[in-house]
């Protein structure tokens, strides 16, 4: 892309005093507005970066730090930013142990969240790959209306959708089941995944598919053998995106599963844990770490892929 050509040359110089280096008159460059602004902005830039990094990382650091301290210790010295008396992993044990063993049973919740997230990814992909391909490639009546319909869906608050779904699932007895939740997640995410995948399919040269068609391949064979392998980066990014949404989701899990502890997801389990008085805040933080770590690991492993998948098409403004 066009960005590399010019930018790198400027920025890979040593950071500190930037402006003067350009000027031929070494000793004292005149204090023009250009020089003053460049210097001030150069400093401000690093201050701002430091501020952002601190503001975004600190809560996560604090989460981990509290989770390995005892609650008495926190009460005594709430301002300590370093675990004073070594690390204690007791809170994690309590959170993960099953209810029979006096714990909170988070292992089961982790399993549930995993099932829901993976199932949502599989169902969403199965549905949206076909749909996105159709919208990107095929001319048919109603194509534009469908795109519009999918976007319009997002005008309505999730809580509005939750009401009839709540009533419906209560009536047919699916409330409390993980399957119902997967259905809801899929329907909520599909409009976005269609959009992400459609943009990518549109970038694949049509000639490849035409060549395969001339060789006698049917539509589905073309999708499976040509389009899918080429769209793999976008499909990976979409999967990760769906996984994160399904793993993190709270409102529908709360509405649908709250009466059925067996099927709680980690998010729901944690929020219910917060409601009870006898659970220490440090235990809560251990639960938060357990909830967050899988997502963060996944995110750091795939950051580049995810970012490019999410914003593909955005460069054009």
């Amino acid at each position: 892309m066009s960005r590399t050509g010019v930018d790198t040359g400027v920025a890979e110089r040593p950071q500190a005093p930037r402006a003067p280096a350009r000027r031929p008159a070494r000793p004292r460059p005149p204090l023009t507005r250009e020089v003053v602004e460049t210097r001030i902005l150069g400093v401000l830039k690093w201050v701002t970066i430091a501020f952002f990094v601190a503001a975004t990382l600190f809560p996560f650091y604090y989460m981990v730090e509290l989770s390995i301290r005892s609650i008495e210790d926190v009460a005594l010295d709430p301002g300590a930013l370093w675990p004073p008396r070594g690390a204690a992993l007791g809170a994690y044990g309590e959170v993960l142990r099953s209810v029979q063993d006096g714990g909170q049973g988070f292992l089961v919740f982790l399993r549930n969240s995993g099932i829901v997230a993976v199932a949502s990814v599989v169902v969403t992909l199965a549905v949206s790959i076909l749909g996105a391909y159709a919208i990107a490639r095929l001319q048919f009546f109603g194509r534009r209306q469908v795109s519009f319909l999918f976007l319009a869906v997002y005008l309505f608050p999730a809580i509005l959708l939750a009401i009839p779904l709540f009533v419906f699932f209560t009536r047919i007895g699916l409330r409390g089941s993980l399957f119902g939740l997967v259905l809801v997640y899929t329907s909520q995410i599909v409009p976005v995944t269609i959009y992400m995948l459609r943009n990518y399919f549109a970038t694949i040269p049509e000639g490849l598919e035409e060549a395969a068609a001339l060789d006698g391949a049917g539509r589905l064979t073309i999708i499976r053998k040509i389009s899918l392998p080429l769209a793999m980066p976008a499909i990976m990014a979409t999967s990760l995106f769906v996984f994160m949404i399904a793993w993190n989701e709270f409102l529908f899990a709360l509405l649908f599963l709250v009466e059925n502890r067996e099927n709680w997801t980690v998010s729901l389990g944690l929020s219910q844990l917060a409601g009870s008085v006898e659970v220490a805040k440090t235990t809560l933080m251990a639960g938060s770490v357990i909830l967050t770590v899988p997502i963060i690991v996944l995110f750091f492993a795939t950051e580049r892929l995810l970012v490019e998948g999410l914003t593909s098409g955005a460069e054009k403004g």
């Binding site: 930018d7 701002t48 809560p59 989460m63 048919f140 959708l161 009536r171 329907s187 938060s288």
Partner: protein, 323 residues
């Protein structure tokens, strides 16, 4: 070539075939979205006119004697106007802040430097982390007894006493001898929302920034424009499109926001937005009809606001660009 020639004359034309294939491929998506999204929206409209409660769900569900009672209940109940005001403040200020922070963040990491990838990834963390986990950390950070913010505030910054940030409706902020009344909890919730959602704007603005042609900036530099002038006159106008898009998206999402506020304050201390109210009607009182009516009011209001935005603001932007 020869292998592909099927007897195609009498069958449907290529265009017809394509149209059929298109609809066939799209049908699973369409069915899921229609059944799980469109139908529920329509059904909400029906429910809003029924007197449906959780306890008479079995008997009343198909009782189609419509009434406007729900709307009357919802619109005249105490606190409705307050919730509306809070929702508007929360979404307007929250949208503005999250896009502003996103813009600043994108500008400072625009050019490559050592460790840029890590900085960028850390800036995305608030957005990708689970909402339940981050709201709990904020709760504990701001806790009057256990929280690090109050610990530092009282010991280092010399506050007289701990501030219960999430349960205090309003407090006074003393700046330069002036005492300003501040809606404490609402302010905190808005700051939280800016913290959590600026990465979204950051991502999109950064993608746009890096796709900008460098020549314009270069030309302005040669002509002697200072960095700030180049930002205001060259860079910012080119970001107008993406910022307008983000404004719409962020406003819609903030306006409909539920999770974050519910988890932070349960809607207490003057932070009750309309969607939390809907939730309370639904689960607290079991009044499904009223919940549906209120959520419809919320959706209609959003549509009106968006209409106004597109009619008056976006039109002007385009006019300005054409000049």
């Amino acid at each position: 070539m020869a292998t592909a020639t099927k007897p195609r004359r009498r069958g449907p034309t290529l265009a017809q075939q394509e149209a059929r294939a298109g609809l066939a491929l799209l049908s699973p998506t369409l069915i899921v979205v229609l059944a799980m999204v469109v139908l529920p929206i329509l059904w909400t409209i029906v429910i809003a006119f029924q007197s449906l409660r959780l306890r008479n769900l079995r008997t009343r569900l198909f009782d189609f004697s419509f009434t406007l009672d729900n709307f009357e209940t919802v619109l005249t109940s105490p606190g409705f106007l307050d919730a509306l005001r809070v929702t508007l403040i929360y979404s307007i200020v929250g949208t503005f802040l999250s896009i502003g922070l996103g813009l600043v963040a994108a500008l400072v990491v625009r050019k490559p430097f050592k460790g840029r990838t890590l900085v960028r990834a850390s800036m995305l963390l608030p957005y990708v982390a689970p909402v339940v986990a981050v709201t709990f950390v904020w709760q504990i950070m701001l806790d009057p007894e256990l929280g690090v913010v109050n610990a530092i505030g009282t010991s280092v910054l010399g506050w007289d006493e701990s501030i219960p940030f999430l349960t205090q409706r309003s407090g006074t902020l003393s700046i330069f001898g002036f005492d300003l009344g501040v809606p404490t909890a609402l302010t905190v919730v808005i700051l939280y929302q800016a913290w959590r959602y600026f990465p979204f704007s950051f991502l999109f603005i950064l993608a746009r920034l890096q796709a900008l042609p460098a020549e314009l900036d270069e030309a302005a530099r040669v002509d002697g424009a200072t960095p700030l002038q180049r930002f205001w006159r060259i860079t910012l106008p080119q970001l107008q499109g993406v910022i307008a898009l983000l404004t719409v998206l962020r406003f819609i999402w903030t306006f409909n926001e539920f999770d974050d506020i519910y988890l932070l304050t349960q809607g207490g201390a003057g932070t009750e937005v309309v969607s939390v109210r809907v939730f309370n009607y639904l689960t607290g009182r079991g009044d499904i009809g009223a919940a549906a009516a209120l959520s419809l009011v919320l959706a209609l209001l959003l549509i009106v606001l968006l209409f106004v935005y597109f009619r008056f603001f976006v039109g002007r932007v385009e006019e300005a660009e054409s000049i």
